[in-house]
């Protein structure tokens, strides 16, 4: 194996560049090094102005998403050696506005998330707690996959629909809505349906499926969205056909 690898990093400094430009660096190539280690090496040894987000370096905090050779990846879980002999192209996550270098603005997601009400909704909202809600392992399993989302935004970067139509609520938020809908403790699916049945809700998704392919936590937002469409359709048909009295 070569002992170094070229990294082509997209830089954008609002006070210096009018648009993002690729800059070439050379970093040591070690088997245990991730793309993030490469970036940190550049920052420590070559150019301390290089900016990017990271924190846990163990694939769980969701901050270090970037496009690596065109694919959205968690850079702390992507190894340089998989790209040998290089070069490795590192760009900010696609579909988001770039704030600086590899840092994108995810305010849009942060504003969308509360809209799908990702919290337990109960009709019997009690404040005094004297025991747990019973939930069998099967009931837990029903929503577990959708509870694994780390909000890393890779799915948004992979979804062309989100890129072209930023009004689309988007994969992770819908997967989280589904996570609460499927939770046996929750009673809020009606409220969430009212949000997601709008055209910015689930209907924008044309089942490209890339969100699921890139998700590092196997959340399967694509599946969640299609199931949501089915649910929305079923409920609509029910509401249309059944007289009010018979509806739940």
């Amino acid at each position: 194996m070569d002992d170094s690898i070229a990294m082509q990093v997209t830089r954008y400094r609002p006070d210096k560049n009018s648009q993002p430009v690729p800059v070439d660096y050379e970093v040591p190539l070690r088997t245990e090094w991730t793309v993030l280690d490469g970036l940190n090496h550049i920052k420590a040894e070559q150019d301390e102005t290089l900016s990017f987000r990271w924190s846990c370096r163990m694939g769980i905090c969701g901050s270090c998403g970037m496009n690596v050779n065109g694919e959205p990846r968690l850079t702390c879980a992507t190894f340089l050696s998989d790209y040998a002999p290089g070069p490795v192209r590192v760009e900010p996550l696609a579909n988001f506005p770039v704030v600086k270098d590899l840092i994108v603005d995810i305010t849009d997601f942060m504003e969308k998330l509360p809209r799908v009400k990702p919290w337990i909704i109960r009709d019997d909202d009690v404040t005094e707690i004297d025991g747990e809600y019973i939930q069998t392992p099967e009931e837990l399993e029903a929503y577990q996959q959708f509870s694994m989302c780390i909000n890393c935004m890779l799915c948004y970067a992979a979804c062309p629909v989100y890129g072209l139509d930023p009004d689309f609520v988007g994969p992770a938020a819908i997967a989280l809505a589904e996570r609460y809908d499927l939770d046996s403790r929750d009673r809020g699916s009606r409220e969430r349906l009212d949000v997601l049945i709008e055209k910015e809700g689930v209907w924008g998704c044309t089942f490209v499926g890339e969100c699921t392919s890139v998700c590092p936590k196997h959340v399967d937002p694509a599946g969640a969205i299609q199931r949501y469409k089915l649910k929305a359709a079923q409920e609509s048909v029910k509401a249309f056909l059944l007289p009010k009295a018979l509806r739940r």
């Binding site: 509360p114 072209l164 044309t206 699921t212």
Partner: protein, 134 residues
């Protein structure tokens, strides 16, 4: 909870019209979606066929004649390819889009996939029989 809104100055990248040619998965996706044109076309073709058959032996023969023109053959061949793409992708996506439960167990994706191909075979055989044999 809400965050105070301050607009962050940022660079907005533009997506080109040909965003889908650079990546295999995006390309396949757009091809899959374009199959819709041929679905519409074949519906029209089917109607023309029905009209021709109903119009009597002569119109029917004319129809068959026109259908063997190289242009139509090419269009239909391309259309069939897209249709196959539609069928294959549609079947592949169904198990991802819905969860079937039998006796409390989730039906595995491969079983749903297989079931769809069986349905395809049965329907095809039936229609073949209807048109050709019965």
């Amino acid at each position: 909870m809400s965050a105070p809104v301050t607009r962050v100055p940022s660079y907005q990248r533009r997506i080109g019209v040909f965003w889908w040619v650079h990546k295999r998965s995006y390309f396949l996706f757009v091809m899959r979606e374009l199959s819709s044109i041929f679905v519409a076309w074949f519906v029209v073709y089917l109607l023309m066929f029905v009209a021709a058959v109903a119009g009597g032996q002569q119109r029917y023969d004319e129809f068959l004649d026109r259908a063997t023109s190289p242009l139509l053959l090419v269009v239909n061949a391309v259309g069939l390819a897209f249709l196959v793409l539609h069928t294959v992708t549609w079947f592949a996506l169904t198990p991802k889009a819905m969860v079937l439960r039998l006796g409390g167990r989730r039906v595995p994706g491969t079983a749903m996939l297989a079931a769809q191909y069986v349905a395809l075979a049965v329907v095809s055989a039936f229609i073949y029989w209807l048109v050709v044999k019965a």
